[in-house]
């Protein structure tokens, strides 16, 4: 369930973002982005030049325009970052709307309780929740069971069960208890909950740069240093050639050459990536994990809950030789009427279908007593009158009939073997001493799972299914779902060992888990996605939490991770490729008066030296806002061959980046010379 996408192009986002982009001019904040910091520094110098021109009575119009456009360059860059932050905040706000207003009943040591504001709750506090209460913070159920409405977070309207002890003990702040009474241990201080962490990652001031962002930043800083040296020495080479170059023109050249496009948009790209995660209802603990997800080449999936619907379903009744279809179905139905397990319910559904009855007009006979499933008996059933009906595994039923002086016949044994061989699970039904037949329980694949696994394969990601089932069953499901590999009869430690062995071969492993026994494997995996419904231990070990608890969404994370990297690479290439045209605009303009021969380099035929320099500066400034939508949305990623992908991006952003500024600068030059701005 996706949260609605927030349209950022509205006044209520744009105006605060504009204000923010002015606030971000503060050099202390600017220093976080070295490229733009240098731009601000030199822009400040051009402003001083303008003032000195005014004071000394020189003509200042040209320098003023250069200076203004340079300020615009910085403000546009800041604006992109502020806009991305605003989007993230709005996305997060929509998730945490309810939480701050709520009150909570905190249990006191030595009995009693008090009602306090949810904001005052601290880690390890135990709170009591009843029908209709909003859960004030992230926590873990320590006592009781409750039906919880998580729609505020996930948008999913069907309520979910949360109970102590099992793998479904985690609760999230902002969700509501529909019915039940639970005690919840709070697991995060105010401001430390998952959502708060995520919000920190979209606020630039608190944002940690990811490893790849740092490496890219180094490249941009290096380019900046080179261009500073190029421009400074350029002045002396020009002096040598007896050409005086105005300081403002040198600064204009410097800013045009520096990678301002990517430098300005880089923070926005990272933040927008986080925004997209939020939009898909993921909460990432670190940007590193999101980046790594683009590299994942092996993904470990639990069979149950990820590939198959959590439970097996009855698909067929197979009577024994000495029993009829009807006898078997009737007994199966009766024994399952009160069976609340998903398997039991599926038997009822199938039986009704086979018998051609619909609705709920089937009732257990008067005086019947149900025998629920227990771990000791490994059977469930019903006693009515002289009929004692039980259903259970082969071993359980064998014991049941043996106690009544009977045994499993060869034909029944064959049926059981056949069902097992086909990868399904047999469930025998016995009435008193007589085995009536078997029910075939089959794992049902989640809808669309094989398509998603196929898509993973297209992305170069190998899928490995892990299950406790026997190899036969596992192989059947694996083949049906189309996973690349599977591990059957897995013990809790298998996952961890498997991840380690893949990692030692150099693979990057993603793991999806929800149980406490998944926690070690989650901690070991490079990308660990925990279901929000999972246990606290699992959530803490993971680096991404999926609020929807939908394991197939790994694909979305991988796509978002790749998109962030592609966008960075594409805009870097674009930014650098732009420089060629800017050289061809500015360098001839500087020398044309002294050396008219250099006119041949003025391939754009720009109107005048002044308009050439100004056009390049204007192009450099306005390309930033023009690319903001792309930076926020991310470059489209389609799983296809890497070479095709690279060729496409090189053509668009490399070749496009080479050609576009020639057209853009010429166009701006035409306009400003028409307007007589220079």
């Amino acid at each position: 369930m996706k949260a609605t996408k927030i349209n950022i192009w509205q006044a209520r986002f744009i105006i605060p973002a504009l204000k923010d982009s002015l606030k971000k001019l503060n050099p202390m904040l600017m220093a976080r982005n070295p490229v733009m910091f240098v731009v601000e520094l030199v822009t400040f110098i051009t402003t001083l030049i303008v003032f000195s021109d005014i004071i000394t009575g020189n003509s200042f119009l040209f320098n003023l325009q250069i200076s203004l456009w340079l300020w615009f360059t910085i403000i546009f860059a800041n604006f992109s970052e502020a806009l991305a932050e605003g989007q993230g905040r709005a996305q997060a706000d929509s998730l945490k709307k309810n939480r701050s207003e709520s009150m909570a009943r905190r249990l006191l040591y030595g009995g009693g309780s008090e009602v306090i504001s949810a904001l005052k709750l601290k880690k390890e506090d135990i709170i009591l929740l009843e029908d209709g209460d909003t859960i004030p913070g992230d926590g873990e159920v320590t006592e009781g069971t409750a039906l919880i409405d998580e729609s505020a977070i996930t948008g999913e309207s069907a309520p979910v069960i949360r109970e102590s002890g099992g793998d479904r003990s985690g609760v999230t702040g902002g969700t509501m208890v529909l019915s039940g009474k639970i005690k919840v241990r709070i697991t995060a201080n105010p401001g430390e909950s998952f959502l708060d962490q995520m919000i920190n990652m979209v606020e630039s001031a608190k944002r940690q740069k990811t490893p790849n962002e740092k490496a890219l930043n180094i490249l941009l800083i290096a380019l900046t240093i080179v261009f500073v040296v190029v421009v400074v020495t350029f002045k002396y080479f020009a002096d040598y050639a007896s050409v005086r170059v105005a300081l403002s023109v040198l600064i204009a050249l410097l800013v045009c050459l520096m990678p301002t496009t990517i430098g300005g948009l880089l923070p926005a790209i990272g933040i927008a990536g986080m925004d997209r995660l939020l939009r898909y209802n993921f909460i990432a603990m670190s940007g590193r994990a999101v980046e790594a997800s683009g590299d994942v080449d092996v993904v470990l999936m639990d069979k149950t809950g990820t590939i198959t619907l959590g439970n097996r379903m009855a698909t067929e009744f197979i009577p024994a030789d000495n029993a009829s279809d009807k006898e078997l179905i009737n007994a199966a139905l009766l024994s399952s009427l009160a069976d609340d397990t998903p398997e039991g319910r599926s038997i009822v559904v199938l039986a009704k279908e086979k018998m051609g009855i619909h609705g709920s007009d089937i009732r257990a006979p008067e005086g019947a007593s149900f025998c629920p499933f227990s771990a000791e008996a490994r059977m469930s059933g019903i006693d009515c009158g002289d009929r004692t009906i039980r259903k259970g595994s082969l071993e359980a039923i064998r014991e049941f009939v043996a106690a009544r002086g009977s045994q499993i016949s060869d034909s029944v044994q064959n049926i059981v073997n056949d069902i097992s061989r086909e990868g399904s699970t047999p469930l025998l039904v016995a009435q008193n001493e007589k085995v009536l037949g078997a029910i075939r329980l089959k794992d049902i694949l989640k809808e669309g799972i094989s398509g998603r696994i196929g898509k993973l394969r297209q992305m170069g990601i190998k899928s490995v299914m892990i299950t406790g089932d026997n190899p036969l069953t596992a192989a059947t499901i694996a083949a049906e779902a189309g996973v690349d590999d599977f591990v059957a009869e897995a013990k809790p430690s298998t996952k961890l060992d498997l991840i380690r062995s893949y990692q030692s071969k150099g693979h990057l492993v993603a793991m999806i888990g929800d149980g406490t026994n998944d926690a070690p494997a989650l901690a070991q995996a490079d990308v660990a996605v925990a279901m929000n419904a999972g246990t606290q231990a699992a959530r803490e070990a993971a680096n991404i939490v999926d609020l929807d608890s939908n394991p197939t969404k790994l694909l979305d994370i991988v796509e978002i991770g790749k998109q962030i990297l592609i966008t960075r690479g594409a805009l870097t290439t674009f930014s650098v490729a732009n420089d060629v045209a800017k050289y061809f605009a500015i360098v001839p303009a500087i020398f044309i008066a002294q050396y008219p021969q250099l006119k041949v380099l003025d391939i754009m035929h720009l109107a005048s030296p002044g308009s050439a320099v100004l056009s390049a500066v204007i192009f450099n400034a306005i390309i930033i806002p023009l690319l903001i939508p792309l930076a926020l949305r991310g470059v489209r990623y389609k799983p296809s061959g890497v070479s095709a992908l690279l060729r496409r991006n090189l053509l668009i952003y490399g070749l496009g980046g080479l050609v576009l500024p020639f057209i853009g600068i010429k166009l701006i030059d035409t306009i400003i010379s028409m307007l007589r701005m220079v």
């Binding site: 490249l219 590299d295 870097t572």
Partner: protein, 569 residues
């Protein structure tokens, strides 16, 4: 163009490549410690040498130890060569009774030969005694080339090894470079050169009586031996000032061919060594292809400019306006072009013509070859190192654009690798711009040294620093570099050019060796394909063009445009 021209231009790259491939395979075996046909001959020498030097052949070094040893080795080399020059007047093998070399020239020369640059701000035959030439220059010609090979072998190991803390043993690598590769090739080349009439003697200069009755003093000396390693080790320092344009260094078309072949051979072979050691020969071929494309593209442009001639000469009646100034008539245009292109791409620096006198636009190619960091084949060892650094930069961008954190050959490229490869690529460029900027704006840079004004003067100064920062060593001429200012600034350029390549490269080697190797999957971008080669070539051209566009414009391009209007410098 004559048939001979075509033959040279087609046969030379072909023959060299054909020889380079087996040599590359051979070197891979040598440095992997495998048995080769030379092992029975060399292994005993190796063992004795290790015992004498106290080297444990099996000891593996971390990159820090490897780099530290290399630096110490070179510092000792510089000191020894410096002292030798100052003391040569009191030492034997000095039939011409040459005195001590000026201190700044001595320092410059010491650094020059140790860094494999062989920039010569002096006239060899009139400054250096035979002892200095043989014990100093020739020895460093071997050692500096060996250092280059050792460095690149360590870098290759960085790619090959997985989660290893070591990158080899520098003493073993140096010894093997010399005894298995450089010495055998140098012996073969010396003999071939002597057979063609290159002099090899320890007697003093010869006095000849010319037909006009005047006397001519002809300098001779142990030329052939130095000539061989000068090319094989991409050193480039000639015995004579005129270098390979001198008839006693390069007497016949065969020696000319041999010399070009020699200077291209090891740089061309190393990509194949890389492929062989990686057990990914296609990768070696892809790197080789990128180098070859740049080499041939430059050669094509260069040749067409020179064959186009000079319009001013055409006006005064020279056939086709062909510009023979600075070229040996016996070499002709094409052999001069081929030599100049080969020597500037390989950072050899030997010359058989005066680059100063080429058509101005040709200067763009010569400068480009050097300023991009000598990676088109490049100097022995360091050329491949530079190319691999560009490959890392390329894969950083390519990796991002396919949505993966960048990797090259299964090794993740992270902050550390990026910092180091950027230092390798950009620090010589930055230094070269800065030093040229200083030189053109102070008296010591211009008035005292520069023979030509205008854009040509700028080209001369820029060429001097491009040549030294690129550890090339060839001179554009026209610039008197034997001043304290130029001796010291070019020394700095040579030191930075050399060590800002080798030390970061060893750091990368250490870091890569310690990493896991990510197995290739369908999501890995294949670095053996055409797309990679094109992108690599593109990155090199763009980096070079963006950094040097203004200088190229004000130097050779402006000069060429002015030439077309009839103005010369």
């Amino acid at each position: 163009m004559t048939i001979n021209d075509w033959l040279c231009i087609i046969l030379l790259p072909l023959i060299t490549a054909a020889l380079a491939f087996p040599l590359g395979e051979f070197m891979a075996n040598v440095f992997s410690g495998a048995k080769t046909f030379l092992t029975p001959l060399v292994a005993p020498v190796e063992r004795i040498l290790y015992r004498l030097l106290g080297v444990d052949e099996k000891e593996e070094m971390s990159w820090q130890t490897y780099a530290f040893s290399l630096v110490i080795f070179n510092i000792i080399g510089i000191a020894a060569l410096f002292i030798l020059q100052l003391a040569q007047g009191k030492l034997p093998f000095n039939p011409q009774k040459l005195g001590a070399v000026r201190w700044d020239t001595a320092l410059n020369t010491a650094i020059s030969f140790v860094t494999n640059t062989n920039w010569q701000s002096y006239s060899g035959e009139q400054t250096m005694s035979y002892l200095t030439q043989m014990l100093g220059m020739t020895v460093q010609n071997f050692l500096s080339a060996a250092v280059g090979i050792a460095a690149v072998v360590a870098v290759i190991r960085g790619f090959v090894r997985k989660t290893s803390r070591t990158i080899g043993n520098i003493w073993v690598d140096l010894t093997r470079s010399i005894f298995y590769v450089l010495l055998p090739l140098a012996i073969i080349w010396s003999l071939l050169l002597v057979s063609q009439g290159v002099v090899q003697t320890l007697s003093g200069s010869i006095t000849a009586h010319t037909p006009e009755g005047s006397q001519q003093i002809i300098s001779v000396g142990p030329v052939a031996s130095q000539e061989a390693i000068k090319e094989i080790g991409t050193n480039g320092g000639g015995f004579f000032n005129a270098n390979s344009a001198h008839p006693l260094e390069n007497p016949t078309p065969v020696t000319d061919f041999l010399e070009i072949l020699g200077l291209l051979l090891i740089p061309m072979a190393l990509p194949f060594t890389f492929g062989a050691m990686l057990k990914n020969r296609r990768q070696g071929a892809a790197i080789f292809a990128a180098m070859m494309i740049l080499y041939l593209a430059g050669l094509g442009f260069f040749a067409s400019v020179e064959m186009h001639g000079n319009p001013l000469l055409q006006k005064i009646g020279v056939v086709n306006g062909l510009n023979m100034e600075g070229k040996e008539v016996r070499s002709g245009i094409m052999n001069s072009v081929l030599f100049a292109q080969s020597t500037t791409t390989t950072s050899c620096g030997a010359v058989n013509s005066m680059h100063d006198s080429m058509i101005p636009l040709s200067g763009v190619i010569l400068l480009f070859n050097m300023t991009i960091g000598e990676v088109i084949f490049g100097g022995v060892g360091v050329g491949l190192i530079g190319m691999l650094s560009y490959a890392m930069l390329t894969m950083f961008l390519a990796g991002l654009m396919i949505g993966r954190t960048p990797e090259l050959l299964g090794k993740k490229l992270e902050l550390f690798e990026m910092v180091m490869s950027i230092i390798i690529i950009l620090s010589p460029a930055i230094l070269l711009l800065a030093l040229s900027g200083i030189a053109v704006s102070i008296q010591a840079g211009i008035n005292a040294s520069l023979n030509n004004s205008g854009p040509h003067g700028l080209s001369e100064i820029f060429y001097a620093f491009a040549s030294t920062a690129g550890n090339n060593g060839s001179a554009f001429a026209g610039l008197n570099a034997s001043t304290i200012f130029y001796n010291l600034t070019t020394s700095l350029a040579m030191l930075i050019g050399r060590f800002s390549t080798i030390i970061p490269a060893l750091a990368i080697a250490g870091s890569l060796a310690s990493k896991k190797t990510v197995p290739a999957s369908i999501a890995t971008f294949p670095t053996t394909g055409l797309l990679f080669v094109i992108m690599l070539v593109g990155v090199i051209i763009v980096v070079g063009a963006l950094t040097f566009f203004p200088v190229f414009t004000l130097g050779p391009i402006l000069e060429h445009l002015l030439l077309l209007t009839g103005k010369t410098f």
